[in-house]
Symmetry: C2
Subunit: 469 residues, 2 copies
């Protein structure tokens, strides 16, 4: 079994490195430990009391078995897997695919051990029309996985209705059950009713697990498993991280330190949190993190009912690319950001840089180096430049990139989020502000019961040519 | 000729809509007009004095002619175009491709009128190895466009040396000139020397135009033209926008209003600027904007030499996707953001939502609607929810998405940046903070002249196990 780890490195947020104005002193760390330790105990108790069921997903063997059985039932003749979902129903699937399958997976048959994967988490008619045109002669070899706890999410419902009709028109209504997998509530809701009526094979979105914490449930596992990712290893990584993040010794708990550092900086004027992977494969995990962080920690009220309007703004940057786009701002602009680098110590591929032509001896320094070494050197160089300007930097170090380390990373960040939510004293697991936009959509789409709201919206958003230039 | 426009809509930043605490009053607008009008005059003079040569790119017919001639020379038998570049040498190419070619362009031959396009703006060995493996039997039908003003950029140089060797090994050294196009300085620099020695066809990165302002030069035009995008129409759009943004009447100048609104909000505690396209095609223009904005406006010093450490942090969000990821934070978190929606009034494709099954009448409201209408309704719904919470919102309205409107958008944002830079009183066109990271990379890669720096970096960044958990 793989023994590759991930570790959190936090020296470059300390006052010793970046000075007292922006760094965390030993005394402050000690106070953060005092404040955070009871929180670790608290979330451990919440977990035991069954209040955070996402914590137990890595131990759910029946999920794994169901996913594997369904995968094995369906994989024959399946050349395309199309996932329809949005938010937590899509971001985890996208992140796992980008992290763990080759860059050219969809374009190169010999590089994949499953079907092509397409995840649609939007309702752009031009995007979908381009896809539908391509799909034409391939629809017989295509499986759709529609993911929605309720089935009421407008975007996913609209996509589903469109593709269901295409399937039905092309292959006949009886073929639907061979081409659609529903991942939804086990008992109730719109999609459950539809799945039962049409006899779709289905998987369960577990109760009490919000979309943004659902990646290690069948929501994320089915697509991963279908596309050849070792989900046992993924969950194994999460379980092993569980041990580390359950310890009540602050200085041995990477989630606690991560949460405390983030909390400290938010309270000290650094309200932007940049996740900065030096790995193309990790880029979509940064988008997964954006949702986890923003929906969990962005809250108007604290648990005592005070208006607080807090929440760090998560930002995704990619090394080395964004050295040539964002680092000018990151170094010279306001010192209002905490940076978290993701670094891969051992890439899977070696790629040696060839000699420079004789006319360009200024490039000789590159010759014979592994590209991975240049990549990691650039991470160090960028971090160096940032800490010279007293910008705090964390690093999550991956021994290598595989399902085991990715599973660790996911679980580390989920528990980090739970601890941070408690430190901020907010309801980590709700997302009340998403509702108004949903209602406004219903209203504008003509749902009778929202007529008054529709009038209010139309009045407020009616285009006023005086402000159009 | 197309008469489709883009327009800036700014009513939802006014105090009338979102209140006096967060909105801009008529009096404040009038003061902003007074402050901005002389700036428009100033940048018009700078332009006439030849100090902002990016302004004249849309009028450069010899660029267009060269690009078209080279495209027509090379396109026969070319099935893959690979662009090697980083920052401004890549972001414009990616943005134009995503905005103006179909989503399935690379996967579906009948949807493209040029070669497949791959833009590599990073040095990830796993990503490149996956690509190289795929490229194997296709290299004979592949053209590489390497883009670097100096040729010294480490990432682009490393990529170039790797692919040059592969080409040379596979097709022989004499074939290089048929497979590599260099876009670089016309007279000097590393890549110019190499292009001359190996007889590569070449295009010019114009003098005095920074990477982030180079999209309408051969840097961006070659890839676009090669992939079937109408670059005449693109430049035509930029020229027509030039007329609008050159007017010294503030309230008729969308760049001036855009810059002034951004400037106002940055000075009033909203230091995050979210670009929020409701269009999958526009998503990479938001990354192009991120560089333009961050490198231009993120500065430590003002023009009087005062330390200011200013600069709004640009953030990319995508509608509707990020409604289910970021809107919770955007509505309830700190009111520290200015939102700029990009909206497409007329998508190219109609896609009707099919009827819901009888068991799910709660979805009947979707039936028969165009997906585009749902998409635009969700934009309005999200904007409504934000302005209810007093969050300021701008919208750039596209009549439709085509090269003409995209050209307008690019030019609008370039001139907006120039005006904003003057309002902030900083040097818009420099990026001094990028240098240290480059030097640190040279140092860590063993360049002799940076030995002392290498020692300093190693000392400061040496892994300390006491902070590794």
């Amino acid at each position: 079994m793989s023994q590759s780890r991930i570790q959190l490195y936090y020296k470059n947020v300390t006052a010793d490195v970046i000075g007292k104005e922006h760094g965390i002193t030993a005394e402050q760390f000690s106070r953060l430990a005092d404040e955070t330790t009871p929180v670790i105990e608290k979330i451990n108790k919440q977990r035991t009391a069954g209040k955070t069921p996402y914590r137990d997903l890595p131990y759910n063997t029946s999920n794994v078995q169901q996913v594997k059985e369904l995968t094995s039932d369906l994989q024959e003749n399946c050349e395309n897997l199309v996932i329809l979902g949005i938010g937590g129903s899509a971001l985890g699937n996208i992140a796992l695919q980008t992290a763990l399958n080759p860059f050219m997976y969809n374009l190169h048959k010999t590089q994949r051990s499953g079907p092509r994967l397409f995840v649609f988490d939007n309702i752009d008619p031009d995007q979908l029309s381009s896809f539908i045109e391509w799909l034409d002669d391939k629809i017989e070899n295509t499986i759709f996985n529609v993911i929605s706890k309720s089935g009421k999410t407008a975007e996913t419902a609209a996509q589903f209705l469109i593709f269901k009709k295409i399937l039905s028109d092309r292959l006949g209504p009886d073929a639907l059950q061979n081409h659609i997998v529903a991942t939804t509530d086990s008992k109730q809701g719109t999609l459950r009713k539809i799945a039962d009526q049409f006899n779709f094979p289905s998987l369960e979105v577990p109760d009490g697990v919000g979309g943004r914490f659902s990646i290690l449930s069948p929501v994320g596992l089915f697509g991963a498993s279908f596309c050849g990712i070792d989900i046992d290893l993924l969950l194994n990584g999460a379980r092993d991280m569980d041990k580390k993040v359950s310890t009540e010794d602050f200085f041995k708990n990477p989630a606690a330190i991560n949460a405390a550092v983030n909390y400290h900086y938010y309270n000290n004027g650094k309200n932007i949190s940049v996740m900065f992977p030096y790995s193309c494969a990790l880029k979509d995990l940064a988008d997964w993190y954006r949702q986890l962080w923003a929906e969990s920690l962005g809250k108007a009220n604290d648990l005592n009912g005070n208006k607080v309007h807090l929440g760090p703004t998560p930002v995704k940057a990619i090394g080395t690319t964004d050295q040539h786009s964002q680092v000018q701002l990151y170094r010279e602009g306001p010192n209002n950001k905490l940076f978290t680098f993701l670094q891969n110590k051992n890439f899977n591929n070696k790629l040696k840089i060839a000699p420079a032509p004789q006319c360009a001896p200024e490039l000789n320094y590159l010759q014979g180096n592994d590209l991975a070494d240049l990549f990691n050197v650039e991470k160090t160089a960028t971090e160096f430049a940032l800490i010279k300007d007293k910008r705090p930097c964390l690093t999550v170090l991956f021994d290598k990139l595989d399902p085991y380390t990715v599973g660790q990373f996911i679980y580390l960040y989920e528990v980090t989020t739970s601890i941070a939510g408690e430190l901020f004293n907010i309801d980590t697991y709700s997302q009340p502000a998403v509702e108004l936009g949903k209602k406004a959509t219903f209203a504008l789409m003509g749902k009778e019961e929202y007529k008054n709201l529709a009038n209010e919206i139309k009045h407020l958003t009616e285009l006023d040519n005086n402000f159009l230039v």
